[in-house]
């Protein structure tokens, strides 16, 4: 079991409120990702759930029991740290055995659990090495191994992939997702990388300035972001934002179009601009088009793109892919907007 409920949880350091009153329900077996820019409070909240930080007010319930004041060792949670936090003086075997020894598990059982963890994580050949002799990816596996042998009610991951290089990160991402499918244990995963969030999460909680802006499945957030912040944070390349002149009766102050929803057309479109830098990625092409009075728009186009630097192009997007935001940046219901004149220059 591993359901975690946060009720009006806050955290303040002196006068600074790092977490503003916050409610969140994490279901048993769920993979939830906390994502947001650095300093948004996501790591702090994770550490509060772990018990490594005090909760200033509110309650944290684990499996229905109030655990707000429970010390970390007694919460039944396991954590994988950004730096892996392996014990440098212990072999891989002893690193994995450490939590079991603390829990006074019988030696025979410890051996069995280490063996099964080593099998799951392909660590068999490294059990007698010290962490210093392992590569980043191997260390990461040991850290995960140390976490799974305890059979915790939930796993906490604190930016576990940020110290790995790009290709390894993709592999580990898959392995962690695979692990979640096979263990079906609750996982809370903190990252600043929206790609990790989108690819791994059952649900994503987008953090900003100590509050959760939106919680939902990856596609919900992609399709229906509640505000400009979420719209800009989810999706890569980032959504294009264009400020518009206020028109009577229309609360729209800015609109947003995702790069993949912008099309280069022959006929007159919504905007006309000059092609700037072209980034060829092979399977796709990112065009940066300078539009007078609007700024630079990013377009995601096919891999084979014949355009050249300096070409004049027309851009368009279907109306149902254009999002409207009011002056607070809140997304407006997408039915009631006015005529195209607002959108075009």
């Amino acid at each position: 079991m591993g359901s975690i409920t946060l009720k009006q949880v806050t955290k303040s350091f002196g006068d600074v409120n790092v977490i503003k009153p916050l409610d969140l329900e994490i279901k048993d077996g769920e993979f939830i990702v906390f994502v947001g820019p650095s300093g948004c409070g996501k790591s702090t909240l994770l550490r509060m759930i772990a018990g490594l930080e005090d909760t200033s007010s509110g309650n944290i319930e684990i499996d229905g029991n109030d655990a707000t004041k429970t010390p970390p060792a007694k919460r039944g949670l396991a954590m994988v740290f950004q730096s892996y936090a392996l014990y440098p003086h212990m072999s891989v075997r002893n690193n994995i055995a450490f939590p079991l020894k603390r829990a006074k598990v019988a030696p025979a059982e410890i051996e069995a659990k280490i063996a099964s963890a080593a099998k799951i994580l392909n660590l068999g050949d490294y059990l007698d090495r010290k962490p210093g002799q392992l590569s980043g990816g191997q260390r990461q596996r040991v850290a995960i191994g140390r976490a799974i042998v305890r059979q915790p009610s939930a796993f906490l991951f604190d930016e576990p992939l940020s110290n790995l290089d790009a290709s390894l990160r993709v592999n580990m991402r898959l392995e962690i997702s695979e692990l979640h499918k096979s263990l079906a244990t609750t996982m809370i995963y903190v990252t600043h990388d929206q790609v990790e969030a989108m690819t791994m999460a059952d649900r994503i909680a987008v953090f900003n300035g100590g509050v959760i802006e939106q919680v939902g499945t990856p596609m919900e957030l992609y399709r229906n972001p509640v505000n400009r912040f979420v719209a800009g944070f989810i999706g890569s390349p980032k959504m294009n934002f264009i400020d518009v002149k206020p028109v009577d009766g229309d609360p729209t102050r800015s609109i947003g179009v995702r790069p993949e929803h912008l099309k280069v057309t022959q006929e007159q479109g919504l905007w006309t601009g000059k092609v700037g830098v072209i980034e060829h990625l092979g399977s796709e092409t990112f065009l940066h088009v300078h539009v007078d009075g609007v700024g630079t728009l990013t377009i995601k186009d096919d891999g084979e793109c014949p355009l050249q630097y300096g070409d004049q192009v027309n851009l368009t997007a279907s109306q149902n892919k254009i999002m409207h935001f009011d002056k607070e940046g809140v997304t407006l219901a997408s039915l009631s907007w006015g005529d195209n004149a607002v959108v075009a220059q």
């Binding site: 930080e53 005090d54 010390p71």
Partner: protein, 290 residues
């Protein structure tokens, strides 16, 4: 990481150190301060009357204090001058590519590990003795009259001994500092056409300034309290020619049993040391921030 629990624990674990140091520093210091206002001599049992600042007046106007104050200044200043200049030279030399650098380092460092009583006695007897010392033999061989070090130049002799003890410290700290100098800076200076002297003056010396300040302050703290070297060589003599403040207070307190006078002297010494300490603490405090 900071939960209420760990904070409470931290306080408990700090407690013994804080209490012990508090007891070690505050209690005796207050007693010294208290004694310094009393007419208190262990040899003259009496009422230990309160005499106000009389002890201070006697101590500060005593010609012995004036002489030992200047001796202290000479001692500290002389040793600092020798060890800093010598230390910079040695540090630069040891920083060069040389054969057997580790052995050289070990030899340079060795005097620091010699206990003060040994180094003072070895120098006093085997080197500076006017009859049998090596220096006397050497002077005779050259045809000069040997110098009677501790009779003719007692303070300078002690400065030489103490400098020998502290030169390794200065050299080691400065060498460590020099080695942290970014080599690319020197290479850039080479490209800019800087000669060895301008490189030393504009790059090495500014880089060392912090380490030099540290050496000056730390040595000063220790040098103000030089004691054993004086005790086993000159016993402060002839007259007060090689008495420093520490030794003067020792003679007053434990040889003349003048608790009041010695305490007043102790407080004066604390004030002098504090002036140095404040600068040192600033330097260390700055360092704590980076």
């Amino acid at each position: 990481m900071a939960t209420t629990q760990s904070r409470t624990l931290a306080r408990i674990m700090l407690f013994p150190s804080v209490i012990l140091l508090l007891a070690w520093m505050i209690v005796p210091l207050c007693m010294t301060l208290y004694f310094s206002f009393l007419d208190y001599n262990l040899l003259i049992p009496g009422n230990n009357d309160f005499v106000g600042f009389l002890n201070y007046e006697f101590f500060l106007t005593d010609p012995a204090f004036i002489e030992s104050f200047f001796n202290t200044l000479w001692l500290v200043g002389g040793v600092l001058l020798i060890t800093i200049c010598g230390g910079i030279g040695l540090a630069i030399l040891l920083d060069q590519a040389i054969w057997g650098r580790n052995y050289v380092r070990i030899m340079v460092l060795a005097p620091f590990f010699v206990m003060p009583t040994v180094s003072a006695l070895v120098w006093k007897n085997m080197f500076m003795n006017p009859v049998n010392g090596l220096f006397a033999h050497f002077a005779n061989w050259l045809g000069f009259a040997p110098v009677d070090f501790f009779a003719q130049i007692p303070l300078l002799s002690i400065i030489i001994i103490v400098s020998w003890q502290w030169l390794p410290f200065a050299a080691l700290i400065l060498l460590t500092a020099i080695q942290s100098l970014d080599r690319e800076q020197l290479e850039a200076a080479d490209l800019d056409g800087a000669g060895p002297f301008s490189k030393f003056y504009y790059i090495v010396l500014p880089h060392l300034s912090r380490a030099i300040t540290a050496v000056i302050l730390i040595e000063t703290i220790f040098l103000l309290s030089i004691f054993a070297e004086i005790l086993v060589t000159t016993s402060g003599g002839p007259g007060y020619a090689s008495t420093n403040i520490t030794y003067l207070i020792y003679t007053q307190s434990l040889l003349q049993f003048d608790v009041g006078g010695g305490s007043a002297g102790g407080i004066v010494a604390v004030i002098i040391a504090n002036i140095v300490a404040i600068f040192l603490m600033r330097l260390i405090g700055k360092n704590l921030e980076d």
